[in-house]
Symmetry: C2
Subunit: 287 residues, 2 copies
């Protein structure tokens, strides 16, 4: 059975997620190889000790790997699976860091030869800024690291996935693809759309008043933070989780309308009851 | 002309906002008197050096004040204005910390005798937790402190309001009541309703899955933060800014629907354009 310390690990895509993971894994495995298109990214990763070696050629980068981790946007991951499949070492483990899992595990199963072990993963961390410049080796500390095994994924592969998650300070959690997509549709992708719609609303109305720039307080800043997320990454997420995302939006609209109707009607008693229950739920979530 | 250092200042309502302001003003004026209903609040304020003196009797507390600052919820402020009006010292300045200004300045004008100087204020800071236990004398540092003078408010009173804001580290900004209510309706009250609706959505759907508690990441936490705000305070705010709040909700719904339609249609080109513009707007707001 493979142990992390014996593995050569190749991280493809050295953005915030991939770059941080590479740096956190360095020293905990035999070798960390980074693959990035741009030479400046590789130079940065090497200069900051995030990788042991770097290359801009995908096939060169994955050929000798025991574990390949794809840290690119969801639909780039799917393209890269097809591209690298014939070039992997016997028994190689292929993982990814994509935020949606159904499309990816389906593609892994279809595109990877039988001797390759696939394991979908989704670490629940991030920042509103992107790129290797904001990578941090502590990014994964304390976060939940979702593992989505396929029917063909062995126990040994899941065990290595757990070891890897724990090595970077994260807590592994096994979840089936559709269930993970449903959950993150509400707790991650919906907040993104709300943040974007809030920024668009302010931009269409109050932003015309120069005073607004001086009064944007904590509530607006926090509620709009994730609107700064990388657009290509988010577009892939929305397009590969359309159904759950739209369901979440519709459920949200119904809740907002219910609150709005109480405000319109001036039904303070009911409004107070509902807002108090919501406040208690929020406190239960984040004590 | 009054100078801050000569003033006895009475802060009515020693919650997060009032308690923090009292503590920040202490030592910068002659005396800070705190008024709170509960003896434990007064004991806490005295023990933590947030006030020089404390009383649970409103009239006793305001009788000798040069400046009275009402730090209670908006509609309590309006009740207290009526109650304290006959008991104030000649030339006393009455300020408040309420988040909506139109109702309050109207009540100030109607309820306070001609010899009293009214000045509405709204400091743009806060936390999702409430109560004196979370008060901090640095809360006002760097925040914008909105001043809303009435037609009868003198230049000298506005100057003292500016001095007071600057003394606690804040940046004064003069804004007319309806304009401030319009702006905060979008940048402060709307985010509150979005946070509440998001929590209610998760509670009605994904919260039934115990795994969701492990995967709530930064996006959800930040976007829902202000749902933890004090309900009585928020209810007063919503009820005294109904028109602007409902307008803001409707503008938001239109923006969310526009995004949703693009996702439904799979119109990636347009979606990418819109999300990129929003990202740029967010970055312009918070560089």
């Amino acid at each position: 059975m493979k142990s992390l310390s014996d593995c050569t690990i190749t991280v493809v895509g050295l953005g915030l997620m991939g770059g941080s993971l590479a740096g956190a894994l360095r020293g905990k495995c035999k070798c960390v190889v980074g693959v990035a298109r741009r030479q400046e990214t590789l130079d940065f990763a090497l200069a900051h000790g995030l990788v042991d070696e770097g290359t801009s050629d995908l096939i060169t980068g994955v050929r000798d790997a025991d574990v390949v981790i794809l840290g690119t946007p969801v639909r780039v991951i799917i393209e890269q699976l097809a591209e690298l499949a014939p070039h992997l070492r016997e028994g190689c483990i292929v993982m990814d860091l994509g935020s949606t899992k159904s499309f990816i595990v389906e593609a892994m199963d279809r595109l990877l030869p039988a001797h390759i072990q696939p394991l979908g993963t989704h670490p629940m961390c991030g920042k509103e800024k992107s790129g290797i410049e904001v990578a941090e080796t502590t990014l994964y500390n304390g976060c939940t690291f979702i593992l989505t095994p396929l029917p063909r994924t062995t126990e040994a592969t899941v065990a290595l996935g757990r070891e890897l998650a724990e090595a970077v300070g994260a807590n592994p959690l096994v979840l089936e693809a559709d269930r993970q997509d449903y959950l993150v549709g509400t707790v991650s992708h919906l907040p993104y759309l709300l943040a974007c719609s809030l920024v668009a609303t302010a931009n269409a109305t109050t932003s015309k008043d120069p005073a607004v720039w001086k009064i944007v307080a904590g509530g607006y800043r926090d509620t709009s933070r994730v609107a700064g997320s990388d657009v290509k990454m988010m577009l892939d997420i929305l397009m590969t989780n359309q159904g759950h995302v739209l369901d979440a939006v519709h459920a949200f609209e119904a809740q907002l309308q219910a609150l709005t109707r109480l405000i319109e009607a001036g039904d303070e008693e009911e409004l107070c009851k509902v807002l108090s229950a919501i406040r208690a739920q929020r406190r239960e979530m984040f004590p």
